[in-house]
Amino acid sequence: MARPAAGAALGTRHPTRSPLFRAACLLLGAIVVLGIAAEWVAPYSPTALDAQGLFQAPGVRHWMGTDRFGRDLLSRILFGVRVSVGIAGIAITVALAAGAALGLLAGVGRGLDQLCGRVMDVFFAFPPILLAIAIAAVLGAGVESAIAAIAVVYAPLFFRVVRGSVLAESAQAYVEAAEALGLGRGAILRRHILPNAVSPVIVQTAVCLSYGILIESALSYLGVGVQPPTPSWGTILNEGKEFLALAPWVSLFPGGAIMLTVLALNVVGDGLRDSLDPRAVTR
């Protein structure tokens, strides 16, 4: 495993061709497909109660065991993909759209840049999880609040990345050349600056998705995010914490799902960063 990574670090081998990167992509793909197909893949309904089968240990009938209401844990985790990954995906998309739009405008217009920069500074003044908790607490627990909280936390990050790369690209000689050729500002921005500014945004998106999943599950775990009986990975963990000694599997499996997903996203993010931005030495 160390060998291909070494090649990647030295630039002799494309980072996205490493087996680790491919395995991570495959895993992410599998998780998303399983989540979408949860209705057909899951052995039971995620909310079906079974008074006879409370806290069954993982076994043949229930691969991951059952919880305090006898609900099948595997099914809950599979349906949980939709909630946990879905919330993170929607929230990061919103953050990306809002942050990138403002970042583009700020990178072009001076006055707006000052104003946006000041406002974003306010959001950067909070530790991310604290801001998310505050927003979720104010809006009241629920799926929408979790989405809003994550979007508000990460929009400033996208703003900063997009603005920074627009400014950096604007100073390049090819932009000057395009100006000299008489291209309008809109055309330069769209046809020349934007394509070059995209790659840091892609890397940022992968990284932020993993943070989004972590924050969603943290919010739900703390009880200010998704509420039971909706099966989010964090909610399942929250329900499991009272019965840790009795039924550890209720806590172990959803946490494992979170970790695997976040791990895969991190590996993908690192691979993308190394391949899209050869200048960065972040590893």
Binding site: A2, A5, P127, P128, I129, G240
Partner: protein
């Protein structure tokens, strides 16, 4: 240096003002009024009771008056009073600070002690077996959700090994051993992501410095490899690591909320969460504001430290 400090401090002042507006506004955005939330169903039945409560909490006045009054209080060191206990928010906060501060310092401390050597070892032979293992571990550390890691640790130590630290908090000065026993697992959990981050940063920073010309010069003039590595390279490589450590200390402030909940420790994070669930909004407001201020203060401190460590910044 002085102009830098002045501009930075004024920028921070401005941002803090923005933060206060945001925190103040957020609480006022609560669906329904705060009082209705607080009183629940009972309030809807009787508008008079509702009105009297609003007057009691000062919520019947215009928003800007409420805000300016709150801000004026903050300037005088009065962050408001808890609706439930009637105690001052600042007092409640200060009471809890030692627990959280100890946890945060221990977490960042152990992650520095482990992360820097791991990063240096990793950078010694990039692509080697040790480098590979360390990098995989670092990626794993970054992917572990703190609340789950804490849960697994509790399960392992308390449930399976029967190693139960006291559930009652004991201050370090009263019983050092007992205190450390309580704090060990939470600090381990809180510092994991930070340790991973510092390992990565130390590695890349060390690799960066080892490629510099002055290092080649030192090697060319025949200095021992060890000397080049530790006397010349490491010192410079540590500068960006300090920044990362400082920034991480800030994130640890956020992580406290989660870790204190998992391990039921009486710190500021617990105070905030309890206040949220009890809808004790003055406490929520005050604690969030104070934590944001601490976060910003830490960031400023890191920038200053950076300037002290890197003479190019000091004189440039």
């Amino acid at each position: 240096m002085r102009t830098y400090l002045v501009t930075r401090l004024s920028a921070i002042g401005l941002t803090l003002l923005g933060v206060s507006v945001l925190v103040f506004g957020m609480i006022r955005l609560v669906p329904g009024t705060v009082v209705e939330q607080l009183l629940g169903q009972a309030a809807i039945a009787s508008p008079e009771v509702l009105q009297s409560f609003r007057r009691f909490f000062g919520l019947d006045r215009p928003l800007h008056v409420q805000y300016l009054e709150w801000l004026g209080g903050i300037v005088r060191g009065d962050l408001g009073t808890s609706w439930l206990s009637g105690r001052s928010v600042l007092g409640l906060f200060l009471e809890r600070v030692p627990v959280s501060a100890e946890l945060a310092v221990l977490a960042v401390g152990w992650s520095l002690c482990l992360g820097i050597p791991l990063g240096v070892v990793s950078a010694t032979r990039p692509g080697g077996l040790r480098d590979g293992v360390i990098r995989v571990l670092a990626t794993l550390g970054l992917s572990l959700p703190a609340f789950w890691q804490g849960t697994v640790l509790i399960l392992l130590f308390s449930v399976y090994l029967g190693w139960m630290p006291s559930l009652q908090w004991v201050p370090f000065l009263r019983d050092p051993a007992g205190n450390l026993l309580i704090v060990a697992l939470p600090a381990l959990t809180l510092g994991t992501a930070t340790a991973a981050m510092i390992t990565r940063m130390s590695r890349s920073s060390m690799l960066d410095v080892l490629g510099r010309e002055y290092v080649r010069t030192a090697q060319a003039k025949g200095l021992a490899e060890r000397r080049v590595r530790y006397r010349h390279a490491l010192r410079n490589a540590l500068i960006p690591v300090v920044t990362v450590a400082g920034v991480q200390l800030g994130y640890v402030v956020g992580g406290l909320v989660v870790v204190e909940d998992v391990f039921t420790l009486p710190g500021v994070g617990r105070l905030l969460l309890d206040a949220i669930f009890q809808r004790d909004y003055p406490v929520v407001q005050g604690v969030i504001l104070l934590l944001a201020a601490i976060f910003m203060g830490l960031n400023l401190l890191v920038d200053l430290l950076y300037a002290v460590l890197d003479p190019r910044l000091r004189h440039g």
